[in-house]
């Protein structure tokens, strides 16, 4: 009889093998889904997984889509490691976009080279400020940061709507909910000419490196890891829980805010009420699939971006329903959670009757 048995200590091999196993199972499941929908599985596979990387332009789109996921996820991972559960990166993303837009609109058509750096700072500060609310409520009143950060997403959405329907509405925009288009000086330059891949991608890569250094090489990161893995030990060592909550939320908020800045100063070129595209929520999946680790997050954000774009392609070329992306994301998470069981447990074959 098969039986699950607790391992003496978590398997490091499984911790890394589990996401790979989940991806493999998702691919197999995907082929079955294509076949069940009456499409040639090989063709489906080609459209879904190879089209998004078929040439330089397609690749640039993949990296563009992965950029905000990387930024949000690396920020979240820092908090998650210390059991600080910031679920509201989506709201912090929007506030970062708002703050950056404020700078862009303030400078108007000014051709100053300082506009973009100011927008980057404003984006990070906006996101961090929004994350400071749950941090304050948690440390002062012990209010659950999961609920507070999540609910602030809706507040952020309404705030963005108010701005674009009200004070920031483009005066020449026929009352539509959008700001003016940003001036050249407030738009991020491109990494590859002729594509939409902007310098936010470089910022995201830098954030991944910084995240790696913080988590794995700094004392503050070490304290946070200890707090997450052994709360009692952290308390005994005198690590300040309050400080960890602040650091976790502020860094998560700042990273999400940067991602929001990249979106308005990059592919959108303006602020609209559609700025929140779910990156903040998807980043939670990315952070976990990436094992809360910088390199893992890099791979997981690329995979997640691939699932989004592959789903679009499957619609465009195979006329598959739009929910196909969600089906793949769902399978990925399902198999990951399933495979994760084997980090702490192993299968053992036991003879009946013993």
């Amino acid at each position: 009889m098969l039986e699950l048995e607790a391992r003496a200590e978590p398997s490091r091999l499984m911790a890394w093998a589990s996401p790979l196993l989940a991806v493999a199972l998702m691919l197999v499941g995907g082929l079955a889904v294509f076949a069940a929908l009456g499409k040639d599985p090989v063709e489906g596979f080609r459209v879904f997984f190879l089209n998004p990387v078929k040439d330089l332009y397609a690749l640039s789109e993949l990296l563009l889509k992965a950029t905000p996921l990387m930024l949000c996820a690396i920020g979240l991972a820092i908090g998650f490691r210390a059991n600080v559960w910031n679920i509201g990166a989506e709201g912090q993303f929007m506030l970062g976009a708002v703050a950056a837009t404020g700078v862009a609109l303030y400078f108007g058509d000014a051709e100053s080279a300082l506009v973009l750096p100011a927008m980057v700072l404003a984006g990070a500060a906006g996101g961090a400020a929004w994350a400071a609310i749950p941090a304050l409520l948690r440390t002062r009143f012990n209010a659950n940061e999961i609920l507070v950060s999540l609910m602030l997403v809706y507040v952020a959405q309404l705030f963005v709507s108010w701005l674009v329907f009200g004070p920031w509405k483009d005066p020449d925009g026929f009352n539509f909910p959008q700001t003016r288009m940003f001036a050249e000086a407030a738009t991020l330059p491109m990494v590859i000419e002729g594509t939409r891949l902007h310098f936010g991608f470089a910022i995201a890569l830098a954030a991944l490196v910084a995240g790696y250094a913080f988590i794995n090489r700094s004392h503050a990161g070490f304290r946070m890891r200890v707090a997450g893995e052994a709360a009692d030990a952290a308390r005994y060592a005198g690590f300040s829980a309050t400080r960890m909550i602040w650091v976790g939320l502020l860094l998560g908020g700042a990273a999400a805010g940067l991602a929001g800045m990249g979106e308005v100063a990059g592919p959108m070129g303006q602020l609209t009420d559609k700025v929140g595209s779910g990156y903040g929520f998807a980043a939670i999946i990315v952070a976990f699939v990436g094992r809360l680790n910088a390199f893992g997050i890099l791979l997981a954000s690329l995979l997640m971006a691939l699932l989004y774009i592959g789903g679009e392609q499957a619609q465009q070329y195979l006329n598959l329903p739009n929910s196909i992306s969600m089906v793949f994301q769902g399978m990925l998470l399902f198999f990951l959670l399933g495979a994760d069981v084997f980090i702490h447990y192993r299968l053992r074959l036991r003879r009946r009757g013993t």
Binding site: K169, N175, G269, N322
Partner: protein, 362 residues
């Protein structure tokens, strides 16, 4: 020798043509792409556009081949979808929601040989033009029926966002109702979403509890007419004929019909006669119609609506004919004047007769 080679070539060509009749056929067909903002579903804005796409396929047959992507958010992702259509050989791309405008504009610049049509926007270029329908014409007639049939003199309206298109609808509905019953008041509740059945239903219920006995909506779901059916009040559907969701309640609906326009436009583009001019079609063009009138509407009202519809179609009646006064009593259009399209496109106020206030009045 030459003859022989020619024979071999033509025989080979024949063989290829015989084995691949569909492939050869498909290669000739011009590709047309559609970008939809919501799932197609079975009623609503996108559903009507998809009906239009099917009608286009039927009308132009083998000359074209259509593709679509549904539920494309009006954010940065839209540009990739639109570009992908253009890059993969589509001749024409229809982007069917306002929020795609700036993305369409950018892709249109990169693909000068592809024609882009954008619904409900205002920008254009050499290969890029907007199109829209005069929804307010149907709304005015809905208002006339509501004004005639209401007992409480309170009419309820569930709106999405206070943009000109929605305000035109609310104001035309109000003007229609007031033209036959100066005592009516229209109350508006914003769902702040194009599609949110839960909020739409809540708004409809609130309006009913405030005494509204006629409801309509400018949102995508069938929640409002369903709420009306449940509570036993009357309603006017929007986008699609929603009578199957509210057989007793729906008096009629303002319905959208894009098929003929799509066929005409694609035909013109393929024939090289298309010009980048904005199209704003109404009842005259068959782009706006009324769903069959519910027998609950008294015969004299039915006759009146038919007569008014005839006049709108003929162009002798415009719903926005002066005097038009806004809520503050300010004259927005002088007596006898007809509102021009540019002024309609900038509408940012409620007319007299609307009880609610605009959320972001400056």
């Amino acid at each position: 020798m030459t003859h022989r080679r020619q024979f071999v070539l033509s025989a080979a060509a024949l063989a290829v043509a015989a084995t691949l009749p569909f492939a050869a056929h498909a290669a000739d067909a011009a590709k047309v792409g559609f970008v939809y903002v919501s799932p197609i579903g079975d009623a609503g804005w996108t559903y009507q556009h998809d009906l239009g796409r099917k009608e286009l396929e039927k009308t132009l047959g083998g000359r074209i081949e259509t593709r679509y992507v549904e539920n494309v958010a009006e954010g940065a992702d839209a540009e990739r979808v639109i570009r992908e259509f253009a890059a993969s050989g589509s001749k024409i791309v229809f982007a069917t929601s306002f929020g795609y405008m700036n993305y369409v504009e950018r892709v249109a610049r990169q693909f000068p040989n592809v024609t882009f049509l954008h619904a409900t926007g205002y920008k254009s270029a050499k290969n890029f033009a907007p199109y829209n329908a005069r929804f307010y014409e149907g709304r005015y007639l809905n208002g006339v029926i509501a004004g005639k049939m209401t007992k409480s003199n309170v009419l309820g309206y569930v709106g999405a966002f206070p943009i000109p298109e929605v305000l035109q609808g609310i104001n035309a509905f109000t003007l229609g109702a007031r033209s036959v019953n100066p005592n009516v008041e229209v109350r508006v509740i914003w769902a702040n979403s194009w599609y949110d059945p839960g909020k739409e239903r809540e708004a409809a219920m609130t309006l009913i509890s405030q005494g509204a006995d006629m409801l309509t909506h400018h949102t995508d779901s069938t929640a409002t007419v369903q709420a009306a059916e449940e509570k036993g009040v009357y309603a006017f559907g929007y986008h699609s004929d929603m009578s199957k969701y509210a057989p007793k309640s729906q008096l009629t609906a303002t319905t959208h019909h894009w098929g003929e326009f799509y066929a005409r436009t694609v035909d013109a583009v393929l024939g090289g006669t298309w010009k980048p001019e904005g199209v704003w079609g109404g009842m005259k063009d068959g782009m706006i119609r009324l769903a069959p009138l519910n027998p609950a509407i008294p015969a004299d009202v039915q006759a009146m609506v038919k007569e008014l519809q005839g006049r709108i179609t003929a162009g002798s009646l415009h719903p926005f004919t002066g005097p038009v006064l806004d809520q503050a009593g300010k004259e927005r259009l002088a007596a006898g004047a007809v509102m021009d399209d540019a002024t309609l496109g900038r509408m940012d106020y409620f007319v007299q007769g609307v009880g609610s206030r605009l959320p972001t009045a400056k």
